[in-house]
Symmetry: C2
Subunit: 415 residues, 2 copies
């Protein structure tokens, strides 16, 4: 059968761009996430065994089991995790995404993000803020206490507000925030305050009391990553809409687990292509160096997959103070990404480049031809469990992912 | 006496930059504004008589008298205004600022903005949002109804929240918002949501009921100019700190009333230098043309006087969709303003220009030498009373202001 790659790719990126994700409500993960069960933990990136698992992901899994009440101590949790009592499964196999370690456990509340154009629902958990947090592999008492507050207070309050207001249009917020210094991944300062500003009146109206309204609005407003998780799930609803189009060479999933990078390609079904995850080129927090860094980790690269994040970095010159480099690098990163993408986004634009659309839809053919791989703005976790974030920077996907995928594509389609 | 202009100017810009304005509370104008009285109306720009007054300013004065209960109709108000019953005085003579017509009447609530570094208090009224509003010269029933809601609900709720939280640091918000696509004058999308996000938890906690909290937070969050008035008063506390330094050639006030532009210079005391206000180079709203435009109007150019607004436009390439031009113009405007300013701001920076400080402190010597006048991002009001905004664009101050001031400077200091 002759395939029309151009037509297939045009279909895929059109779906990416037409997708309109809306945050509608929250629910317990076990109740809404497809294929989840009580003895499963979800995680970022491609599949991984306990033996090969990165430190921060191990730490987050330990914390999650204690949070679930399944283990009383780190020792007990590790025993369960290494003993085959718990099934590990990638978020992406369950229409989920999670930043960094990305661990989602059954009783955690997750956002439901619905792509209203294509009727696809994806999920992500609540964001804990910066610093010592589960997603960076920390699981001390204060981390667990905050998770419980999120479960009992933050989540239910946000859920009620979201339902009362009829949901929040994630794409509309991103379109605006990309003109407000955000890249849509590592810098979400604007999107997070826009999110908070839309939620706040409804929280004030519907929270169980004014003290709860106060603490929830304050927490959301002070967390510059409040909207990261709904943005990630929103981006997944975009790229999922373009997955499984026969003959397409567009990447629909990129994700890392701190050990491996993995990608999936629209025309290559459910096969993961994986390679060792790189060390992030990073600015380190005081007291840390590259020797402390876990390899690149997290599902957040779904933002780049959808055409923002590092790909939209020309919108975010101020971000270089956080991830390193000079403002000109920000513009050059976006320009480079045009080389390996199929389209310019219709909803997300770069004012500085005369409102050109962001580079959208990584084409494995172009990556291999140009020998340029996708660039990602990202946080860096400590390589050991229990520590937390140590820096932020820029990572490049391994070239072999795209080479392997291209070989598989040629085989599948007899090219 | 030999004067040291360089030293004087360094002192002035140092005060501009060291000033830290904080929004502390609100009060009725008559109770806090120096020199105000019951039969006075304050207005934007330099002094002006009823006969020479621009249409939108006349409209705003009519609306203010009806709002105050001093007149029952536009006819009655006009009769009072033209008959010498009401004294008109520039905001700037009373430590006030107001956008566009800038009319402040005795019973209006005003923000108190305190420069904590120098102990200077300035004031501005509440922002009405975009569209048909008093500051643009409209005074229909819906305009007056909104003013009353602002007086009875919005203002008291914000006042209580500001006091409970201990005030909001305007300079800190501006520093951040300038890295979020704002110029700090015509585009305040980011600053306004940061302002709303800081206020919201306290409004939720202290509003008289949840319905009030809901409507106030929603109004603030949806008004992309919520923070404009406190920003203007904040900028005035900066430049006022630098006024009246002997021997300084730095401009401390720029303001327009729709008829004239006026400036004051630090080393030239309380003398206004004035010239006819220009027509703004503007993008017009559908249905309007330059023939509908009032000449440049408003105290909002105090932002440029303090080193932001048009001067920081390199931070705001997306603004060209609202005021006209292409993104490159935004960068060039900032670069041009370095030619006529004395310093680069220590608190306000431009990421795209490698975090260079914004051009700060207009030096009348440089303006005349380079033949470049300050450029201002601004709204445009209809020239007739009662209509409202018709566009937005860029204005350049008349050169003669600076030439006249330089002559006066030479005379005063025997140069």
């Amino acid at each position: 059968m002759a395939i029309d790659i151009e037509k297939a790719n045009a279909t895929v990126v059109e779906r990416f761009m037409e997708a309109r994700p809306v945050a509608t409500t929250m629910a317990k993960a076990i109740e809404v996430v497809p294929g989840f069960h009580e003895n499963m933990l979800l995680h970022a990136g491609p599949p991984v065994t306990w033996e090969r698992m990165s430190g921060p992901m191990k730490g987050a899994m330990v914390g999650a089991l204690i949070f679930e009440g399944k283990a009383k101590s780190a020792e007990e949790a590790e025993k369960m995790l290494s003993g085959g009592k718990i099934e590990f499964s990638p978020n992406h196999e369950h229409m989920c995404t999670g930043p960094m370690a990305g661990v989602i456990s059954p009783s955690m509340l997750v956002y439901e993000i619905e792509n209203k154009t294509h009727g696809i629902k994806c999920f992500s958990n609540l964001n804990e803020g910066r610093g010592k947090v589960l997603r960076m592999g920390a699981y001390s008492q204060d981390v667990l206490d905050k998770l419980r507050w999120m479960e009992n207070t933050l989540g239910p309050t946000v859920k009620t507000a979201l339902e009362a207001m009829g949901g929040i249009d994630i794409r509309a917020i991103l379109s605006k925030a990309l003109h407000m210094g955000d890249d849509g991944h590592n810098r979400l300062d604007a999107a997070s305050v826009l999110w908070t500003t839309q939620l706040s009146p409804w929280i004030a109206k519907t929270a169980k009391n004014t003290d709860t309204a106060f603490e929830v609005i304050k927490f959301l407003g002070e967390n510059a990553l409040s909207i990261l998780n709904p943005v990630m799930a929103g981006c997944k609803t975009m790229t999922a809409a373009g997955h499984n189009v026969e003959g397409s060479t567009i990447v629909t999933i990129m994700a890392r687990n701190g050990t491996d990078w993995g990608i999936k390609v629209s025309g290559l079904g459910d096969r993961w292509f994986t390679a060792q995850s790189p060390i992030v080129k990073s600015l380190y927090f005081p007291g840390f160096t590259e020797a402390d860094a876990c390899r690149d980790i997290g599902d957040s690269v779904i933002t780049e997959t959808a055409g923002i994040g590092g790909f939209a970095m020309a919108n975010s010159p101020a971000l270089v103070t956080f991830i390193g480099g000079v403002p000109k690098d920000a513009i050059n990163t976006t320009l480079d990404m045009y080389e390996i993408t199929y389209a310019e986004h219709k909803q997300f634009t770069v004012p500085l480049l005369d409102f050109r659309g962001t580079p959208t839809g990584v084409d494995i053919r172009k990556v291999v031809e140009k020998q340029i791989t996708p660039r990602v703005n990202t946080g860096v976790a400590h390589k050991d469990p229990g520590v937390g974030q140590v820096g932020a920077g820029v990572a490049s996907a391994p070239m072999s992912l795209f080479e392997d995928a291209l070989v598989a594509f040629a085989e599948k389609y007899n090219i």
